[in-house]
Symmetry: D2
Subunit: 295 residues, 4 copies
């Protein structure tokens, strides 16, 4: 299969169930909504070594937020509901509540809701009011009053949607991956949780070192192409990046994969697009590139 | 006391000992060094509710890095050595190791060093080489080879250096606080760990709610000025922000406070600069504004 | 009249006919489309002292551009058709044609078209092809081949749509003005040609110096409020900015004014919104704030 | 010759005399100093088709500016003194004078000074004061008072310092060129006047079309490599960019070339660095790469 002259491997991305919360952060301007979103979602690339998988969903105009101010929607993901609650409390309480000019609102229409009771910080000076048809708390603080909703929806989502960008060289792969991430940023209900949205390392289960559960996947290392047997790096490929996508639904992840891949293949010297899976043995969800791209 | 026409309160900032590590992240360009530094230091405003206090120290030119590439120095702080090690392993392993084009090096000349053994991920394909006179590991991965040092210095530092910016209105306070943070970004060995470097809320110990250990300090809330007794908000002040500074040494924190305050008072409608303390009862370090500013 | 608690003066903006061209600049990523758009529209605040009035209309996703790459739409305005042609030739030829990875396309559906014959630079190596259903030239150059359309639509537009933001202090006025400009950036077919979209100075016709045709309007200077007779600066106002808007049509300017004002009044300490006119004596177009805002 | 494994061609850049002015723009924050610097230096890539060659020299901290605020130094170049004066009047008067929170000061220690009499705009309300030991004008306007010096130094400088980056592919060349421009941004007294600092097209004198004075240099077009005789594009090179540097002195240009080239060769897949000249027939200045790099 080909898309804009770039080979699309006939394979699939394998993904997993995860719990997702989504929060709308608003501020006096987009700069502070974004700054706050970044702090609140930092140290959140993978639950393997981070306390959550978190990232920026989408920038919101004043027309799209409860208080009519510029905003940024973020998503926080964890395998367990308790984990989500703990992460919301920590990340919202420490990184949004303390941040200049911000307010926060639930960003997910979900049956299940988690109470995040930051208003008790108000020490009795907190008060209830309505903003954009929502019941919120006002909490007096040093800069003025902080506004927040109390309950945040949580629902089952999808973790680990993905695709790989293989290029003639590392810099072409990098710019293509950057463009994919920028394009996915437009797709509501999805995040690319890794640093800047891009994964530079690939892993396999197990290692020659007994104390390691995972290790570099030597078959996907361009610099080992001629040194290991069975390398999966095609001739002429010298740089590979992966885009990992979490979403609120299969549809959202599928749309993000399509838009991300379409952005990548526009960059010169992209050789191939592939996807990562465990032969269907581990994940609940499968995203066939053929299907994702309508090829 | 006055500085550029702005009243400087004759008081002091009270600060605490903390353990500090400092890491140099380099990348193919400043964009990716900064992107990685932000992810690695996110969710790191205060150890009260975050796993660490972390932030960006300084942008580095190619002349200042071991591999001659653009870089960003970050600092990670924790009250315990074990905590620092765990945080380095998690934040460097998950947010830097996986990030495109990055390398990482120790950024602190310290007697005590913590081993961060990411190279075992190489599964036997890792190798040693020298970069900028330092022994480093090369670890083959998808994008190419990741380069990192193994040992990272840790030493006693200072947490909680601070000053307050009181302004006629919130927006003037905000721009002054932004300028303070930008100025402190130039001072080697210091970070402003809160979101965007700015703290919008002030707290006191205790609460009328028995389950809360801390609560809003109503005496520092402009919107409660006329509703509580003993408000510390001067007449005509409607917005207050705090800049919190952690540093590798008292000297670094002192310099950062001076440069940060000098940047703030240049903004119109700043009424007063103050600092936060516990009357000398809790912290090991005291930074008198009189002394910091040479007044 | 009031909008979100801010007084709206019952007055109107007076605007003028101007010729408008609109060009779509695409590039390998948004960064380079924007960088190029900025160079091509620089030195273009007002035809009183600049060779054109020019600015950035809107950021375009790959779905919105002829070649499927990220883009930025710019507008170039001049009172005369000859002036527009000269400016297109100079600005496109010197600032877009030479810029990395860019392509350019007509961005205006207009009866009248101006030929911009940059392809002769190809010295016979230029060739015709089709991109996104449009006939374009390919011109070999150092980086690869430059792609551009030959004809650019020009049509009558509107110059000088405007509103004023009056605030308690300068910094609140500044942030409100920034937010207005960011909001107008979303409105297709409009630009805010001044530096960063904001005008800091107001003028009147004539001067006590005979060689000056225009001079500062002392009745709109906060620092002269108590020194001149008939000051138009209300009590408590200490900072005023004007947003000037050019557009492809009256409808576009009207929409931009509405969205810009709505963004401004969300910022704290905004006292009043007004608009500038010449009592209807000079301009062809009038935009009543009452009508613009539906009040 | 080689630098970091990259071939350095043993050739030279040929450059020309030009008149240079240098202006310090300060503002309430770096954002507005930079925004203003960009507008004031836009449409200024080459005097062949722009009214001036202009660009951003360096970002300035509060310690480096007359008024202690953040700043940006810009340079404006023209072959004639009259041209410089006209350009200063237009660019400073229309793009800086009208911009929010800005002030401007002479940035060049030169014997010859050009008077730029913007203060008459004050209509008699203008006043003299001292800022940072300089005599300046204060001019009341809508946002408050604009501060500017009256006289701006002009002196002979150098135009057209340059080097070429040849890479395996276009994206590697682009990132290397971006890094060169970022590095040159640190060198006081130099600008890279083209869009984003990078030139994507190369020209030769003359054309097969009689009405064209210059045309694409087909010997430097990668896509024509196998179609023309005597191509100068080495095998394996698919993307070439040029960095053009203007400076206040030969020393400044030489330093900028060295630092720019050192930044470029750090990027993967750079094949060769060269420079452009007219065999010494046209320009007054020669910069031998051997000498520039100390090889």
């Amino acid at each position: 299969m080909k898309l804009e002259g770039v080979e699309i491997e006939d394979t699939f991305a394998e993904a997993f169930p995860i719990k997702v919360a989504r929060v709308l952060i608003t501020a006096v301007n987009e700069k502070w909504a974004m700054e706050t979103a970044r702090e609140a979602t930092g140290f959140g690339t993978s639950v393997i070594g981070c306390p959550a998988e978190a990232g920026i969903d989408r920038v919101l105009t004043g027309d799209e937020t409860p208080d009519g101010r510029p905003g940024v929607a973020i998503m926080i993901c964890h395998f367990k509901k308790d984990g989500i609650k703990e992460q919301l409390l920590g990340r919202l309480g420490q990184c949004v509540f303390t941040a200049p000019t911000t307010a926060m609102f639930n960003g997910l229409d979900a049956e299940e809701k988690l109470p995040i009771k930051l208003h008790f910080f108000g020490d009795g000076f907190e008060y209830e009011k309505e903003v954009g048809g929502r019941k919120v708390w006002g909490i007096p603080m040093m800069e003025g009053d902080f506004i927040c909703e109390e309950e945040y929806g949580v629902k089952p989502g999808v973790a680990g949607g993905n695709f790989f960008i293989l290029a003639k060289d590392q810099m072409s792969a990098l710019i293509a991956a950057e463009n994919s991430v920028a394009a996915v940023r437009q797709v509501e209900g999805t995040i690319t949780p890794f640093t800047g949205g891009i994964v530079a390392s690939g892993s396999k289960v197990g290692s020659k070192y007994k104390f390691m559960h995972a290790s570099t996947n030597e078959k996907f290392c361009p610099t080992l192409r001629d040194k290991v047997e069975g390398s999966q790096i095609p001739e002429g490929v010298n740089g590979v990046y992966e885009i990992v996508i979490n979403g609120v639904s299969e549809e959202a992840v599928k749309k993000a994969m399509r838009i991300g891949i379409k952005a990548a293949v526009k960059v010169p010297d992209i050789v191939k697009i592939s996807a990562g899976n465990f032969e269907g043995k581990l994940g609940k969800y499968q995203f066939q590139l053929r299907d994702v791209l309508g090829l």
